[in-house]
Structures are given as C-alpha cells and as structure tokens.
C-alpha cells in the first residue's frame, strides 16, 4: 500500500468555530493505481487532497487520523520539514495550475525556480535542465519549448510543462486537483491521456485525481471514491461503481451525469433536490438522510459506519 489514510479529520478554524470539511475519511492507494475522488462543491475533496499531502496550513488543521505515505507517517514530520517529501515522495498539481505559470518566465526558468525552491543551490543548474529536457521529451515536448515564454505555450503545452515540473523528481504519488476544469473538450481529453501515460510509463508511481467530473474520471481511474459532506460515502472499482452504485447518493449522482450517449434522450434525468448540510455544526446521523429517497428512522439519529459491503467495496449506509 503506497498511501494509507485512516479516519482522517481536518477542520478549518473560523471565528464561529470549526468547519468539519473532512470528517472521517479512509482511503488506500496501491502502487500503480489511479484512484478518483469525486464529489460536488463543498464535499471536502480538495481539502482531503491537501491533507493527504501533509499540507495542513492554518486555518486548516489535521485534527485526527493517520496518513502514511510509503510507510512514513507524514504528520510525524514537523511541518517545516515536510518540504523534503514534497515533489519526491508526494506531489500535487493544484487546481488552476495552468493559469499560475508566470507568463514572463521562460519554461526552463520555471523549472529552475521550482528546483531552487526545493533544493536551494545544492543541485547544479545544468543538471536540472538536463533532467527537464528528458522529462519534456517523455511528455512529447521538444526541448525548444524550454526556451519559450509560458505565454507563448498553447494550452496543451502548458499542461505538459506543469506536469513536467511537478513530476521532475518522479514522485511516488501524484495528486491532481480538478485537472479538467476550464479546458476545452479536446485539451481535456489530451490531459487525461497524459495523466494515464505518466502512471503507465512509471514517471509517477500512483495517482489520485480529484474532480467533480465523473465521466472524465471514468476514463482513466481504476477505482472511484465518492464524497459527500466531508465523508467518503462509497468507494469501489470503477466498473462496478458505474454499473451498480450502492450508496443512494452515489446512485443519484451517477444518474445525474449527462453524456452524449443515446440513453440520455430516452429518460428524464432526476437531479437531487435540496442541498448538503452545512459543516460548521454537522447534523446528527447520516448526512445524506434529509435528501435520501431510502431514508429510515435509524439514519436520522445514527451515522452509518464506512464498512466493507463486498470485497474491496466500502459503503457508509444503513441499507448494507
């Protein structure tokens, strides 16, 4: 197991109290696995991604639970020393990273900047550039791209540059947060294929992709976790999840996915009326109970445990 996150809780401190953004999530990532974490806005998936990195910057605080990456408990390392793990053991491509490339820097200098931040001057510049050239080549970028300013790069080339920078040290695990927002359809497809490629070619060990776009996750993830109101409600092998989701929220969410496939025209899609509970003072019992079509009395007072309903398939629901 490359990453083991057990019952992780991470809260944001605000004047009114604590927002229970991630409130007891368990996830395991195997070597060479691509796991998708799906959910709607506010479910806690991005926060969970940060916590998995060991990136608990105030006001976010890791409250309880254990996260081990490659056998090392990341929160045992003092926060100011965690930098040495970032980039090499675990790396992240945050949301909107394509937009965060400094347009006035050449690609080669973006790499030098990133390396300097990690290593100071201990790695000689030309060594970094050689590595970068090799990585660019792996990702289908010519080395002339290194000399281009980032504003000169196309969307696709920017993606590859960002991926090159994040994977220079061949991290064991790469977390990608909302890779496909704000891209046109064909560039999105290219990006998904590129992410698949870097795992299969062992440029990175394993990957976690966080996204609201289930159809995109379906293309390259081996398994899928669905989050709701700070908790993982179900996780399963991707094919099984798509074909037959168990948790009522997972079922309704999958039913609400719109794709250009014939089935979509044949029926009326049903959304999910209502809204998730606020997480400042989370409700008692199952957090989906207010909107659940299968709700029972028990659901309103007792929270269902996240347990193995079938081999390798976990659900948090009293129906199982």
């Amino acid at each position: 197991m490359l990453i083991e996150a057990i019952d992780v809780k991470g809260y944001y401190s605000i004047p009114e109290g604590h927002v229970h953004a991630v409130d007891g999530c368990t996830l395991k990532l195997r070597h060479e696995e691509i796991v998708g974490i799906a959910g709607e806005s506010g479910c806690g998936k991005s926060t969970f991604g940060k916590l998995l990195m060991g990136y608990d910057k105030p006001p976010l605080r890791m409250v309880s639970g254990i996260i081990t990456i490659d056998g090392v408990n990341i929160y045992d390392i003092p926060r100011n020393e965690r930098k040495r793990v970032w980039g090499s053991t675990i790396a992240m491509i945050p949301q909107y990273s394509m937009n965060s490339l400094n347009p006035t820097r050449k690609a080669r200098n973006l790499i030098v900047d990133a390396m300097k931040e990690k290593f100071g001057s201990s790695v000689p510049k030309n060594e970094m550039i050689e590595r970068a050239k090799g990585r660019f080549k792996d990702l289908g970028l010519s080395s002339t791209a290194l000399d281009m300013y980032s504003f000169e790069l196309s969307g696709g080339m920017k993606q590859r540059t960002v991926i090159a920078i994040s994977t220079l040290l061949n991290p064991k695990a790469l977390i990608v947060d909302e890779p496909t927002s704000a891209l046109d359809v064909s560039t999105q497809r290219l990006l998904l294929e590129l992410l698949y490629y870097i795992v299969k070619r062992k440029i990175v060990g394993s990957m976690i992709i966080i996204s609201h776009d289930i159809a995109s996750l379906r293309q390259i993830c081996d398994s899928l976790c669905i989050m709701y109101a700070g908790k993982i409600v179900e996780s399963a092998d991707m094919e099984k999840m798509i074909e037959h989701p168990l948790h009522p929220y997972a079922k309704l969410l999958l039913d609400a996915v719109v794709t250009p496939e014939p089935e979509i025209r044949k029926r009326k899609l049903e959304g999910i009326p209502g809204a998730p509970p606020q997480l400042l003072r989370p409700p008692v019992g199952c957090r989906f109970s207010e909107r659940c079509p299968y709700v029972m009395d028990r659901c309103k007072s007792e929270e269902p445990p996240y347990s193995e309903a079938e081999p390798d398939r976990f659900v948090a629901c009293w129906l199982y």
Binding site: V185, V258, I264
Partner: protein
C-alpha cells in the same frame, strides 16, 4: 416564428469575423442548442439576436419583422436574455423582490396584484418557493439559485423567446439536471422558444430538440439533437463528440504518449 439570417463582423483594429454567414430558423416550442467552443461565435450570435450588437450584413427577423424595426421596449417583452456569470450582472445587495420590481418598471403594464401573481408563477416555474426566495438578498443565493432567479426574472415578462448562455455553468451536477428540466418544460409545456448556448454538447443533447454547431464563426452542422450527436457528419463535430468522456465507453488509451 423567428427567422435569423445573420452575418456579423466585429472589428478590433483588424477585421475579425466573429459570425460569418450564419443562417438558421427557429420555431416556438423548440429548444435550439447553439454549441461551440470559445471563439466559435455563439455568444456573438446571441448578442446579435438580443440587439446588443448590430450585424454588419444580413438580417434578423422576429415573427416576420426585422428586429431593428421593433422598438427595444417592445422587443424585450418578447425576447429575453439570461447570461452566464450571474454574479457580475446584478447588485448583490438587492433583495430578489427588488430585482423583479425593477424588471416590472421596465416593462410593466400590469396591475400590482397581477404583478405579484406573475412573480410567484415565474418562481414556481423554476421550482423556487416564492415566500423564501423573494426575501433573500442576491448575495445570499447559491450559484444555482441565482441562475434560476435570473431565469424566473426573464420569465416574469412572459417572453416568447429566451436566450440563455451557459445557464448551468455555476451549478453542480445534481442541481444542473433540475435547471435543465426547467428549460425543457418552458418549451414543452409553455411553448417558448429557448436558445441554449453552451460549449457542453452533453447538456445540449439532453435538453435540445435541434442543435447548431459553430466553429470559428460559421455553422458547420445542424440538425436534430439525435442526428447531430449520434451520427455527426462534419469532422469537427465528430471530433468534438469523440473527445467528450462517456460512461458506457472509455477512450482508447495508448501508452505511447
């Protein structure tokens, strides 16, 4: 009946042809999708129809009359637009009630009691509770609620035509379907012509009767939603649809990179 025959140019120093020889017809009770990626000219086309821009050549007819011969106040009783990025277009401190009364002041020829009824009807059409919704401030609304309020605001005028540009961009999947169903109802049950402008061909496939695909200012394909999406003819349309991730089939993935 609305007939559209448009060619528009937008000059920014150099001549940029934003909309190039675009022609199509629309009927009431239809949902027409105008699909394209950024730079396709779909938003410009919408603006031309909404009289926010004038065409360099060509004409747009509404019920047989050239739209530029219809005074704006009258035109906007029949044709309304609802745009993306709702947060930028309204004063956030307004109460929802205030928004409706502003619209009323622009178009009102209706008694106060009828006004109140019309507002309630419009809100119910978008599945919002009038008593709750009217008292909220704009900045208290979620993206989804706001987009529905804007739809209700345009409905309140009881137009024949609604143009909506990316109406579900700010909304999560579970709520998106609810808004799309409202749009379907508006044409089906209420006989309105809805022009649904989006880059998202999946949503258009669900909601639209007909789809027009635009690329770099031109129409490359049009037809019924099923024809265009399930048997696309133009290479651009084919590629666009092939690149959309689906649930039943996966992309063919190679390890060649």
């Amino acid at each position: 009946m609305t007939k559209i025959f448009t060619t528009g140019f937008i000059g920014l120093g150099e001549k940029i042809v934003a909309v190039n020889d675009v022609s199509f017809n629309c009927k009431s009770g239809e949902v027409i999708g105008l699909i394209g990626e950024s730079g396709s000219g779909k938003t410009t086309t919408a603006r031309l129809i909404l009289k926010l821009l004038s065409a360099t050549s060509g004409q747009i007819f509404f019920k047989g009359k050239n739209i530029w011969t219809i005074p704006n106040r009258e035109y906007y009783r029949y044709v309304q637009g609802v745009f993306q990025d709702p947060y930028s277009s309204i004063n956030p401190v307004y109460k929802v009630r205030h928004l409706f009364s502003n619209t009323f002041n622009l178009f009102g020829e209706v008694s106060k009691s009828e006004l109140s009824q019309r507002v309630d009807d419009a809100l119910e059409l978008v599945h919002l509770e009038p008593e709750e919704a009217l008292e909220k401030h704009i900045d208290e609304l979620s993206g989804g609620q706001l987009q529905r309020i804007l739809l209700a605001n345009s409905l309140f005028v009881n137009p024949d035509v609604i143009l909506t540009d990316e109406p579900t961009s700010m909304i999560d999947a579970s709520l998106r379907v609810i808004v799309l169903n409202v749009i379907k109802e508006l044409s089906g049950k209420h006989g309105k012509l809805i022009m649904f402008i989006t880059h998202d061909i999946s949503q258009a496939f669900y909601v639209c009767d007909r789809i027009i695909v635009m690329y770099r200012g031109k129409i490359v394909e049009q037809g019924s939603a099923e024809e265009v999406v399930l048997s696309p003819q133009h290479p651009y349309t084919k590629r666009l649809i092939a690149d959309v991730p689906k649930l039943k089939q996966k992309f063919e993935l190679s390890i060649k990179g």
